[in-house]
Amino acid sequence: MSDVTETTGSTASASGDGGDVRLRGIGKTYGDFTAVHPLDLTVPEGSFFALLGASGCGKTTTLRMIAGLEEPSTGSVHLGEQDVTRLPPYKRPVNTVFQSYALFPHLDVFENVAFGLRRRGVRSVKNQVRDMLDLVQLGEHARRKPHQLSGGQQQRVAVARALINHPKVLLLDEPLGALDLKLRRRMQLELKRIQTEVGITFIHVTHDQEEAMTMADTVAVMNAGRVEQLGAPADLYENPATTFVANFLGTSNLIEAEVASTAGGEILVDTRGGRLGVPAGRCSAPSGTGARLLVGVRPEKTVLALADEAGRIPDGRNRVTGVIAEASFLGVSTQYLVDGPAGRGLAVYAQNVDRDPRLVPGAEVVVHWDRAHTFALDAAQDIEAGVERVEPATAGKDGRAERAERAERAERAEREEKAGKDGQTERAEQAGKAEDAWTADGAAKEAAG
């Protein structure tokens, strides 16, 4: 939602000397296409801030406007007290780690890292570069050319090249997008370590929800050019405010419901699968009697019981009945999909502690969970928003996925026109492929945890 304002009470340092990044009503349009709707955002000094969203949601454009590589159509960018909206990139105390690193191919690692210092006429370049290369553990490769390095090493050069200038803000544009999964995990920790060490504000753009949650203090979830929700990772995960956030960050079971009564801090709702309870504090929508809501619960918080043994479920838990449609054994856990009157494809992640061999497709079951784990959203939203489609067949049918794809294509085409590069498409496609692999693995890991 565009009315998101201050990031108050985040993990920022309380220095308050005005080193915050403040975006005021900043927006960007390309002809008819609105890449970023006017948004307000404050990134506190010293924080690790993530802009999370699917491709084409405007997160990279936002980042580029902070860097000065894109001129905002409306609004202003402030770094501390300074209004930098009209400053060209070379005058901003901001450095960027580019998606494909954009290392200078004709310069060796040393000169790549020294580039910013030399442009500012800094003396004693040598020692600073040495120290920086040591920080990213590339001291031995100072005289190599970028193309002689592996992807992870190139990535570290890109980080070193930006960090050596001690920018007020370091911008990271999908910096791990081109790396394989293992390296990516390692670099996530590495970047987090570096950020803690140098204390510079990091603004990290990513489409990978797990990456955002692992690294960032504060995450802003963007969708279709707007910030949907902003907060600490755990807060976003536990209390999504929109269906997009609920579905994009992890997986949510959303059930259509109507408010029956409100009493004692608890809202009772009627669903097609029976009555459920929601803590009033976890409802982000008006909850008068008769109001329509979407009731949600995370799959790992739910438990399966056979319908025959439903009597053993303690009272006061939310329960819906159904039939197991699918059971995928993932090693540490099993992922069930349950169809019932409440909804189709309710996901249940069960740890493989005592596997019940009777829980197989076709079995009649009850899905139950603690009422405290239930949240409720406004029903006037697309229940499918933010759902990541794995099977291409369903993605084709889904109008929203198509729209997102079109937006992505538009953005890519726009960028390409400027760039005039064929390689870019290729890279984007590769990134897309990596994303797919990542999503699958992420789901597996989630199921495990």
């Binding site: 960027t96 004709h106 580039f115 930006a162």
Partner: protein
């Protein structure tokens, strides 16, 4: 040069008819021969149209005799020293004219190539066609057209006269009085015009390959636009600069059409001398010797140029 490549390669395999090969040799053998078979047409072409003429001319250059009595090889290398002694001003002039034209081509071509590569957007293809368009007309016709354009009393000369530009160029020794035609300037202009596309095309190719994000990265790292150009764009386009200057300088150095049509006897280049020696004086040994000296001069200039621009260091 290529003759070295020719002798350096293993002897071409006995040309077998495909049918015979299929019958007698197993599949694997044929697979191994394929690269050589693919080389064969090109090598034959080079042999017939490059290596043999070079050898023939080399032998001509050390022959003595006359057209009536016939020529024979007497290994007279003095022809070379005599040719150099007689015609060194023409060599010098060729290098200076071709060098000047190359520099002018670079100065004119680089901005245009840059524009096409980074700024032209949807006009890119149209501009590229315009660059290549002159090739649809014959080289000779185009140069003759320049003769008309630069003619005495023409619009160009009159305009330059009015602006007193010709007084300045005359002061520099580039033009003669109130004339433009038959002056060094006209020859250099002709050379520049005729070889400009050979500069623009390789420049464009190498500029087009530069990732525009490198410009953004440089700007992000405190480089002003001018510095971005000096530190990133120019170094990365050096392969194009070298290729373009070679493709311009080499043919311009041996050209005689421009000096013939746009110049005078005072602007004769070595190409004109060789042409006259071959076709009018019929002194074949001298003409052949001049050709070899020209080849040597160009090789020296080119290798110094490549060495100095350090392109082998570029990706």
């Amino acid at each position: 040069m290529s003759s070295a490549t020719l002798t350096g390669t293993p002897p071409p395999p006995p040309p077998a008819t495909p049918a015979a090969a299929r019958r007698t040799t197993p599949r694997r053998r044929r697979g191994r021969l394929t690269p050589y078979l693919l080389l064969l047409p090109g090598l034959l072409w080079l042999l017939v149209f490059f290596a043999l003429p070079v050898i023939y001319q080399a032998s001509t250059s050390v022959q003595t005799g006359s057209l009536e009595a016939g020529y024979e090889v007497t290994w007279r290398f003095a022809t070379y020293t005599e040719a150099l002694a007689d015609y060194w001003p023409h060599f010098l002039r060729s290098v200076v004219y071709a060098g000047t034209a190359t520099v002018l081509c670079l100065l004119l071509g680089y901005p245009l190539a840059y524009l096409i590569a980074f700024r032209a957007g949807r006009w890119r293809n149209l501009i590229m066609i315009l660059v290549i368009a002159p090739f649809f007309t014959s080289f000779l016709i185009r140069t003759l057209a320049w003769k008309t354009i630069l003619a005495d009393g023409g619009v160009v000369v009159e305009t330059l006269n009015t602006l007193h530009v010709l007084d300045v160029t005359a002061g520099l020794g580039l033009t003669d009085g109130e004339r433009l035609l038959a002056t060094p300037l006209a020859v250099v202009c002709g050379l520049t015009y005729n070889f400009l596309p050979f500069m623009i095309l390789p420049l464009y190719t190498s500029l087009e390959r530069i990732d525009p994000r490198l410009h953004e990265a440089a700007a992000d790292l405190y480089a002003r636009p001018a510095t971005v150009f000096r530190r990133v764009t120019l170094p990365l386009s050096m392969p194009g600069v070298v290729a373009g200057t070679l493709l311009t300088f080499i043919p311009a150095g041996g050209d005689y059409v421009n000096a013939d049509l746009l110049g005078s006897t005072d602007t004769r280049m070595i190409g004109n001398v060789i042409q006259v020696q071959f076709l009018r004086v019929l002194d074949y040994p001298t003409a052949a010797a001049l050709s070899f000296i020209l080849m040597a001069v160009i090789l020296v200039v080119v290798s110094v140029h490549i060495r100095r621009s350090g392109t082998e260091d570029l990706v």
